[in-house]
């Protein structure tokens, strides 16, 4: 009833392939954007910004990068956090070498560094497939984290070995460092995530996206219809690592404020892989749904006992959290192996034909 598609006729191929072939999808998106741009900033407090909204956005972006590679191009990667680290350290170096540079430009440039590293570690994908490739990407993970620790130039020879973000302005507004307000940081992150998301939706709909999907579904068949496998796989690695790198830089600059090399260790890689898979491989929307689940769940589990009024030992609670997250991952995989995005797709189908069962 609310999602009635009857009467919306497609008279040309172009209108059938439009971004929103169904009007209600566009309305829904506008509602969500209004929520993100107007309602949340008005109602959220500092804790919500720092613990929920900003992390969800940044993790969604990282998962989107991984999803380009794993979901669209079919190359399983376990080294996401390493590439995030490259983005973060590149951005840190760029802003120390060129202190006057606009932070947005620095972010965009740092993506190119992680893209280059991604392509270098993506080269084996031309010969290695499946789980062998997944293990091969772990090589980048361990090697890069080791490099962040040992290469003192990367962290400006700090005694602590960590990188710390100084205060930076964006057209008069303080966006990074301890004096920046969570609200400005949230808007800044939201703006970047919106822009990158629109770009990714269109890339995956376009020529390259179709190329990647062909390679994912059957690489030999794709090669036979004239797709250059090397180009398809390496562009997937490049675009994916670019987005992941930006997400890594944002993670440090707009959320954590400082980072040690082990922040980019393997648990982070797995967390992002969880988001991409629980959200739904091969879907842009899924990254956001997955990030909401994976980021919000531990926060909720921490807050929940207090709300109910039970006093729980916090260390024990942490262990139970890990346990519940693990069990939920298995649960979601069993219930819907294709992720939350698919679940939404099914609900949408039901809404369209509602109140009829078929």
């Amino acid at each position: 009833m609310f999602y009635k598609t009857s009467g919306q006729f497609k008279t040309s191929y172009k209108s059938d392939q439009a971004l929103f072939p169904v009007k209600q999808d566009a309305w829904l998106l506008i509602a969500i954007l209004a929520l993100a741009y107007v309602v949340f900033p008005l109602t959220a407090n500092e804790f919500t910004f720092k613990a929920l909204l900003v992390p969800v956005l940044i993790y969604s972006l990282a998962a989107m990068g991984l999803n380009i590679l794993t979901g669209f191009a079919g190359q399983l990667s376990l080294g996401t956090a390493g590439f995030m680290g490259v983005g973060a350290y590149a951005c840190y170096k760029i802003t120390t070498i060129f202190p006057e540079m606009n932070i947005v430009v620095a972010l965009a440039l740092s993506g190119f560094f992680s893209a280059a590293v991604g392509v270098a570690f993506g080269l084996p994908s031309l010969r290695i497939k499946g789980f062998y490739l997944a293990i091969a990407t772990l090589a980048s993970q361990f090697f890069l984290v080791w490099l962040f620790e040992k290469w003192a130039w990367l962290y400006n020879y700090n005694a602590s070995g960590a990188i710390e973000v100084r205060t930076m302005d964006f057209f008069g507004l303080t966006v990074t460092g301890p004096t920046a307000t969570p609200l400005t940081q949230y808007y800044f992150v939201l703006g970047i995530v919106t822009v990158v998301t629109i770009a990714m939706i269109n890339i995956t709909r376009g020529r390259y996206g179709r190329m990647w999907k062909a390679v994912r579904d059957m690489d030999i068949a794709a090669e036979l219809v004239g797709i250059n496998l090397m180009r398809a796989k390496l562009t997937a690695f490049a675009v994916s690592s670019y987005v992941v790198g930006i997400a890594g830089a944002m993670l440090v600059f707009f959320w954590k404020g400082a980072a040690e090399p082990n922040l980019f260790d393997i648990p982070m890689s797995f967390q992002i892989l969880f988001i991409a898979i629980i959200g739904g491989l091969g879907s842009i929307l899924g990254n956001f749904l997955g990030a909401i689940l994976i980021v919000a769940l531990p926060v909720l589990l921490n807050v929940l006992p207090d709300l109910v009024g039970i006093q729980v030992h916090s260390a024990a609670m942490e262990h139970v959290n890990v346990m519940i997250v693990g069990a939920l991952i298995v649960f979601f995989l069993i219930v819907e192996p294709h992720g939350l995005a698919r679940l939404w797709g099914l609900i949408r189908e039901k809404l369209i034909i509602w109140p009829f069962p078929h």
Binding site: T70, L76, P124, R127, I128, K129, G130, F131, Y132, A134, I135, A136, L138, A139, F142, F143, V145, W146, E149, K150, I220, A221, L224, I266, F270, L273, F274, I277, L281, A315, A316, H319, V320, N321, V322, M323, I324, V325, G326, A327, L328, I329, V330, L333, I334, P337
Partner: protein, 319 residues
Amino acid sequence: MELLYNIFVDPFIQMYEAPDFLLQVLWEGLVSGVLYALIALGFVLIFKSSRIFNFAQGIMVVFAALTLVGLHENGVPAWLAVPITLGVMYVLAVGIERVVLRPLVGQPDIILFMATIGVTLFLIGFGEFIFGGENKVMITEALGIPTGALEFEPFGGFVLIEEKDLAAVIMAVLLVIALLAFLNRTSMGRAIRALGDDHQAALSVGISLSTIWVIVWFIAGVIALATGIVWGARAGVSFALEVIAYKALPVLMLGGLESVSGAIIGGLLIGLLEKLFEIYWGQPLLGGNTETWFAFILALFVLLFRPQGLFGERIIERV
């Protein structure tokens, strides 16, 4: 020029001048290689019979060792704690098969892989919740593992071999022999290999998939317990041990995901080479701690030239 000398000449001069130290390094490498091989064996068994890339193998090692130590701490004698731990591993195998694997039969490989990561998280949380997160000491004496050290003096030098390492190597060899005998000489072992070759054909001659899966996961659990005892005796028992699980992955790349002998040879090779590289190249030239990545990069280079690994089955692709 000096750099080239440091890379290509100096390490070998050092090896030649101090052969006793070289022997010591090789022995250390061999022992860790044996342990990598054991973990890799657990992976290979499960992958061969069910095409599941079982990421939880490393955590099963920790979990088994923790259960054993935890039981002993609570007053259970060692001779009883070992069978009880084996029982726990069996229950775990049945549980994983029933709750996780059975509903996911036929899903894409990556989904099953993710499910085992879910199991990993669950076991970490569960183990820490019950036994606590702090480092524990493996009960070596109660299990009859010697703790002394043997000293040798080859080439006028001095080599120290810890008896528990020797015990570890002997135990690993016995375990591998028992496993190979089981796989090659018993009907159950043949059924497991048949399932690895062709699921459909194995099912049609009456091999029960779920029984075999439980058995395979249980064997992986037994291997995990053996590995946990041995490694725990060397480094203590805590969830920091899970990093050794990652070490088994390049072993798998090198040896091939389906090859039992590949896992053993690959494990020994990686254990030896990574120790040599760390001592003679890593520490003097790269600032040390190269063990975290060397095995992966090595495996990566090998795979560039042999994509199926050193001993893996040849990948035949059909259009």
